[in-house]
């Protein structure tokens, strides 16, 4: 982009947020372009539902716009704050889903030509993973998602979840064990016997 008021791509998110709060109209567009892909990706990997992930993304960024005037630079990173808000919004939805959708309700792999079938199988496995994630307690689901779906390190997750790194390790270990147990019952159905 070559807009005269475009912010440098290296500008910290917090500086853009402060610029937005001070009335810079370009700052919101720049910030949205920088942050939306990450938030949407995180939401989609946890929820496996495009519409829900978009709703969560819009809500997370709306909350960011609202707190912009009170944002104090240097106290927290915008991305850390967004990871936390997005994770909380996703676990809220997963909790609702847990109450309404049985695990068996997840679509099974469909028959078809080989590449299509493989894609469908991949998708089914990922859907099953998301459904299994929804069965975990909220904090376990968040820790597992941040560690294994977002690929974050334990210290960063500790900061996002406001807990110790030991607690993160414990949550992710227990979460993984629980996921393994939940998914074990669906191995054949998800095509693992054929691998």
């Amino acid at each position: 982009m070559t807009h005269a008021t475009d912010h440098d791509a290296a500008s910290p998110d917090a500086a853009l947020l402060v610029a937005y709060a001070n009335g810079d109209p370009q700052a919101a567009a720049d910030l949205a372009a920088r942050l939306t892909p990450r938030v949407l990706g995180q939401a989609f990997r946890m929820l496996r539902d495009r519409a829900e992930a978009e709703d969560v993304t819009q809500e997370a960024l709306l909350r960011l716009w609202k707190i912009a005037p009170d944002w104090r630079q240097g106290e927290a990173q915008v991305t850390t704050w967004l990871y936390r808000v997005t994770a909380n919004l996703c676990t809220d939805r997963l909790r609702r889903r847990k109450r309404t959708t049985p695990l068996d309700g997840v679509a099974e792999p469909a028959d078809g030509a080989a590449p299509v079938a493989a894609q469908m199988q991949d998708r089914s496995r990922l859907d099953a993973l998301a459904a299994a994630l929804a069965q975990l307690p909220d904090r376990q689901a968040q820790a597992v998602a941040l560690r294994h779906l977002e690929g974050l390190g334990n210290p960063e997750i500790a900061q996002i979840m406001d807990i110790s790194t030991e607690a993160v390790e414990s949550l992710t270990a227990r979460g993984k064990r629980a996921l393994t147990a939940i998914l074990a019952g669906r191995k054949a159905e998800l095509g693992y016997d054929d691998d």
Binding site: A28, T36, L40, L61, L62, G151, K176, Y192
Partner: protein, 113 residues
């Protein structure tokens, strides 16, 4: 039959590898939200009453404030230049006023003892 940790890790890796494209429509909604929040904040700031506006409201608007100012001015005026009728009235309410001097008028500094 249990799922191995390796299979679960592979599943996580597949999930991480998935690209989720952002639609223009979503970006437009997000930027529209940002604009709406700014506009709402501007309206709130414009309509938030200041100190004097709040005071004026408390005393009943302009008529109330005008009455308060008139009463204050009248009080000050009466204090400086009381009308003839006020002095006897004040005397009957508060009693006669008398002045006591602790010093002789000739000896203000008390030098003569």
């Amino acid at each position: 039959m249990t799922m191995t940790e390796r299979e679960l890790d592979d599943l996580f890796a597949s999930a991480r590898a998935e690209h989720v494209a952002v639609s223009d429509a979503l970006l437009a909604r997000i930027v529209a939200d940002a604009d709406a929040v700014v506009a709402a904040r501007a309206v709130t700031m414009r309509t938030a009453p200041g100190f004097w506006a709040t005071l004026r409201t408390c005393v009943g608007g302009w008529p109330g404030l005008g009455g308060m100012v008139a009463a204050t001015l009248a009080g000050v005026w009466i204090g400086f230049a009381p009308p003839n009728a006020v002095a006897p009235l004040a005397a009957s309410v508060w009693g006669e006023t008398s002045t006591i001097s602790l010093f002789s008028s000739d000896d203000v500094l008390g030098i003569e003892g």
